[in-house]
Amino acid sequence: MGLLSWGDKGWGDELALATLMTLAVASCAFLLGLVFGSLGATAKLSRIRPLVLLADAYTTVLRGIPELLVIYLLFFGGGGALRFVVKMFGYDGYVELNAFTTGVIAIGIVNGAYSTEAIRGAVLAVPKGQIEAAKAYGMPPWTMFRRILAPQVLRYALPSLGNVWQLCLKETALISVTGLVEIMRQSTIGAGSTKQPFTFYACAAVLYLVLTSLSSLGFARAERWADRGVRRS
């Protein structure tokens, strides 16, 4: 077990840092996915034809091609696309996406597609009568969103968002190809240089298990919190 010790001779501290990196990428990607998901769900529910089509195309494409390819495409093409965009705004300098941002955007976009469906389903689950009642009261749209829609959407969406988060955590393993040192890459480096693949990949598996089980506990708590005002049959 000397291999996994702390300090410059062992890989323990590197793996711990890599775990933090995994968490950081996953959290940022999940939040970005929520932003894309809210936009996507709004577009899908908007009944404005071009928006609906756009959102449909987004979810179909992103759920239909392997995450690994999305990451590669963004990794090799992201910088060029970004330079094209900033050029349109008149900036002629050189900009580039670093490995962290590439990973966050790639996984964020993919997760956005899953979040779109989760949020859309949750909005549809809010009883129509409540919206009608709110309208009948003369509630302004923003207040209606804040008081009626948002709390219930959050409650209905939490279980599926929990799944999206788990997916997100596991997908971060794929961004090791961009050179970002997260759990998977660190284990591969360790496995390669010590020729002890089992030790390192088993260690990676344990670290992921810790992350996924801790977060399912967290989500279970959040669900209980969101359900607090609901009577159970």
Binding site: T60, V61, R63, G64, I65, P66, E67, L68, L69, V70, Y72, L73, F76, G77, Q166, K170, E171, T172, A173, L174, M184, S187, T188, A191, Q196, P197, F198, T199, Y201, A202, A204, A205, Y208, L209, T212, S213
Partner: protein
């Protein structure tokens, strides 16, 4: 302007990876399903040890990334001399069977949860009715529970199938030359990463699109009782009501 000649060449080369992709998907989905049904039943079993075994398996394979599972099976297991000397080695020696093993175990765990959900959604009344009719054990399972459960689980299972098609791209990490593997090879010769990955992505998208359509058709075919009656029948019915 896109270089269409190059895109076409790439497409032709990538198509050569499709047979392997289909093999990986179909064998592991079939084997995974065969694994998933008993695991789902074990999860719902009244016998605690059975429940524990099944839950730990599901926990392990749903809680870790597939890439880790593939590397653990391919590179990890071969670290041990005992395994290299065992009867399993002729299989584990080959990247093909390692990929199938990893994909099967992975989809088996997800499939078990989907089927468990399906079984739990079977209306209790139907099970009671069957028991009243004298059905029990395997007969009850075969005639009542599983057909209803599987029909319920179908939409979730088709998402799982799509995830599996995408998951085969990871087989390229253990030297297999399926679609993504060939894409890497072309890039190593031409250095044109974006174009090659776009073509590869389009092929995956097409496969998944066709798969989704097929599964929707299957769902439609399996749920005649949920559909509106055809227009002609409805017209007849309403005509009968008027008279």
């Amino acid at each position: 302007m896109p270089d269409f000649a190059f895109l076409w060449q790439t497409l032709e080369k990538l198509v050569a990876g499709l047979p392997l992709l289909f093999q990986l998907v179909s064998i592991s989905l079939a084997a995974g399903f065969v694994l998933a049904v008993p695991v789902a039943l074990m999860r719902l079993s009244p016998v605690p040890p059975l429940r524990w075994i099944a839950s730990s398996y599901v926990f392990l394979f749903r809680g870790t990334p597939l890439l880790v599972q593939i590397f653990l099976i391919y590179y990890g297991l071969s670290q041990f001399v005992e395994i290299r000397g065992s009867a399993l080695w002729p299989f584990l020696r080959q990247p093909y069977w390692c990929a199938i093993l990893a994909l099967t175990l992975n989809t088996g765990a997800y499939g078990a949860e989907i089927i468990r959900g399906g079984i739990q959604s079977v209306p209790w009344g139907q099970v009671e009715a069957a028991r009243v009719c004298g059905m029990s054990g395997l007969l009850l399972l075969r005639r009542i529970i599983l057909p209803i459960a599987l029909r319920q689980a179908l939409p979730a299972y088709s998402s799982e199938m799509i995830l599996m098609v995408k998951a085969t791209s990871l087989a390229s990490t253990i030297t297999l030359l399926e679609l993504t593997g060939i894409a890497h090879k072309i890039i190593s010769e031409t250095y044109r990463a974006i174009e090659v990955f776009v073509v590869a992505g389009a092929i995956y998208l097409l496969i998944n699109f066709l798969l989704t359509r097929a599964m929707l058709a299957l769902e439609y075919w399996l749920s005649p009782h949920l559909r509106d009656a055809p227009a002609a029948a409805r017209a007849q019915e309403s005509a009968a009501l008027v008279h």
